[in-house]
């Protein structure tokens, strides 16, 4: 969309609310921000920094296991880091680690791994999902 707007010299700013699917809070929050406070600050991919400004891996509750290289060998081994299972948290910027999903009952990394669904190039850039990058 941004490219077409540039080609056609359309000045309307583009906000990318990324995700497959985007979190409802990101959608509603972005719209509310535009209405109440104007355009939110965007990152280089045009995503609101408010929601996509921090890295999942750096803020992950299992980060300590990464530091000590305690790696999950199977999906159900939860007292460990999921990096070796293919978790794309290190390459993904979103606030899932604190916002969580579906009224906060769970989120991808607690349950399994992150497949980087908010990053540009998803899904090809994140595939194979279940191999460490």
């Amino acid at each position: 969309v941004s490219q077409v707007y540039e080609q056609e010299n359309i000045q309307t700013p583009v906000i990318n609310v990324a995700g497959c699917p985007p979190h409802p809070d990101w959608m509603v929050g972005t719209l509310a921000h535009v209405l109440l406070y104007g355009l939110p600050e965007l990152d280089s991919d045009g995503r609101p920094k408010l929601f996509f400004g921090r890295n999942i891996h750096e803020n992950c509750p299992y980060r300590g296991y990464y530091e000590s290289w305690t790696m999950s060998e199977t999906f159900t081994q939860k007292e460990a880091c999921r990096y070796q299972l293919g978790c794309k948290g290190p390459f993904t910027n979103a606030d899932c680690w604190k916002r969580r999903w579906n009224n906060g009952v769970n989120w991808c990394v607690e349950n399994s791994i992150c497949i980087g669904c908010v990053q540009s190039g998803f899904p090809d850039a994140a595939s194979p999902f279940y191999l460490a990058m």
């Binding site: 199977t74 579906n102 769970n106 349950n111």
Partner: protein, 492 residues
């Protein structure tokens, strides 16, 4: 939104009961999951011919080629935002077979509970937020308007107000169902939790309890509101229990495995053709493309040899949906097909209402007889199935053991085939994977809507929805409300 105008309705054709044939299309047919156009020919206030057209090429089969097989269960979920759980389920079943692995008991039960919660959500979504607006008159504000000029809305003021209250409450109940899916599956839509070999998260006692209290609220709604409202509507629209017969052929793949060998299911697999029951044999499935925008040399293939080669300039073709046939017969899929094949006992509410309102002494689903194959019969089947499933989910919750393994480790095979047979809420769903050199060589999906909304086949037989439209009353071609009712009853 409600009541889109027929596009090409000729100006002179407004009069009811015209003897002239009038052809028009409803495009897009709104309030469905996907994208469909219905073209119908009306004569003497009845549909005399119909063409169902899917105008969107998806090509997921192409996207999957050459990828790591395990990616399939994630990517195929993106086929549908309403039933990602069904595609994930079919995909992991295909992968389980190809990888030669089965989930442990706790994983099987957790899968059932993830999928079950999605079923409850999907059936409530279908009835309240897609179909009910054809029967319940809401206030004159969106989403209840716009509607047709002659919307044929027959409920009393009180019944309408109950319907609208439940429409709103159902939004919240659906949110609760999503939370149930996410508790064990990670999130909804698109679960991270469903993988080859089982489920990625061993349920904690905390999450099981969280699921349980949410489930009780949903079950109450199904039992006390959804089920009775369907029968209330059925009474007001009793003629629609005799409208929309179709081919009276059914297919079901079986769903919700009850044992670890996965040989027994809540709904058993089977086929019902020309009044006879048969065991399911997937070799009998062939996909025809004479009227579909695919290369004609790919017609008549079993999905194991299936190819997805679009040919958009093909003359005579009118749909991107292929025409699958079982033993060369069109068969319908969905709650009606499942309930007919399984023939379970009806709910206490159902038995009571059928006796009081319709004078029917029905104990089991097939006791509905001819009435089952109708617009209302399909709604009754869906509502009765929701109730039956909720009853069983209560048992599964008791079977689920906190802290017990839900996953079996496996390796990507060098070369293997796998078939995943399940039932999406809207009907029979098949995923087939062929792995060569550790990557996907071929992947084929035959989904429920492909079974129901397909065009004519190479033998010139209409698809199930096309056939069910025949004889559907259309008194006013500018308000073809029964066309929408019929198509929506299939939940395409």
């Amino acid at each position: 939104m409600a009541g889109c105008k027929p596009q090409a309705a000729p100006a002179a054709a407004g009069a009811a009961g015209t003897r002239e044939k009038v052809k028009f299309s409803v495009d897009p047919l709104t309030r469905i999951e996907g994208h469909l156009k219905m073209e119908v020919e009306v004569q003497d206030s009845k549909v005399v011919n119909a063409w169902s057209s899917g105008g969107m090429f998806r090509g997921f089969e192409k996207i999957l080629q050459g990828r790591d097989p395990r990616d399939a269960s994630q990517l195929t979920q993106r086929i549908c935002g309403v039933c990602p759980t069904a595609h994930a389920t079919a995909s992991v079943l295909a992968l389980d077979q190809a990888f030669g692995v089965k989930p442990p008991a706790n994983g099987r039960v957790a899968r059932n509970l993830i999928f079950g919660a999605n079923y409850l959500q999907s059936h409530l979504l279908h009835f309240y937020h897609l179909a009910a607006l054809d029967y319940v008159q809401g206030p004159d504000v969106a989403p209840f308007v716009p509607r047709y000029d002659n919307p044929d809305l027959r409920l009393t003021e009180e019944e309408n107000s109950i319907g609208v209250d439940q429409y709103l409450e159902a939004l919240e109940v659906r949110r609760i169902c999503h939370e149930m899916v996410a508790l064990f599956g990670g999130r909804m839509p698109h679960q991270q939790g469903l993988v080859v070999g089982g489920v990625t998260e061993i349920p904690s006692a905390d999450k099981i309890v969280g699921y349980l209290w949410r489930f009780k609220r949903v079950k109450e709604f199904v039992q006390d509101k959804y089920l009775p409202l369907v029968y209330t509507i059925g009474k007001a629209y009793a003629d629609l229990l005799r409208t929309g017969v179709g081919w009276k052929n059914c297919i079901g793949y079986g769903v919700f495995p009850l044992d670890d060998a996965q040989s027994k299911h809540l709904h058993k697999p089977g086929v019902y053709i020309d009044g006879q029951d048969y065991e399911l044999d997937t070799e009998q499935i062939k996909e025809y493309v004479k009227y579909s925008w695919y290369k004609q040399e790919t017609t008549g293939l079993n999905f194991r040899k299936g190819r997805t080669e679009p040919d958009v300039d093909k003359s005579g073709a009118y749909s991107f949906i292929k025409a699958p046939r079982y033993r060369d017969k069109p068969v319908e899929a969905g709650p009606l097909a499942r309930m007919w094949i399984s023939n379970p006992e009806l709910s206490p509410v159902g038995k009571k209402k059928l006796k009081e309102e319709f004078g029917l002494n029905a104990k089991r689903f097939r006791d509905l007889g001819e009435l089952a194959f109708s617009i209302m019969g399909r709604h009754v089947a869906r509502a009765e199935e929701t109730y039956m499933l909720a009853e069983r989910m209560e048992n599964w919750l008791q079977e689920l053991e906190p802290g017990k393994e839900t996953y079996t480790q496996s390796q990507v095979p060098d070369n293997a085939e796998g078939l995943g047979l399940t039932e999406a809420p809207r009907g029979a769903l098949l995923h087939y994977i062929d792995i060569k050199d550790r990557v996907i060589n071929n992947y084929q999906v035959v989904s429920a809507t492909i079974w129901n909304a397909n065009p004519r086949d190479d033998m010139e037989q209409r698809g199930p929805i096309e056939q069910a439209l025949i004889n559907v009353p259309v008194g006013d071609v500018n308000s073809p409300v029964n066309v929408g009712r019929l198509v929506r009853a299939f939940d395409p």
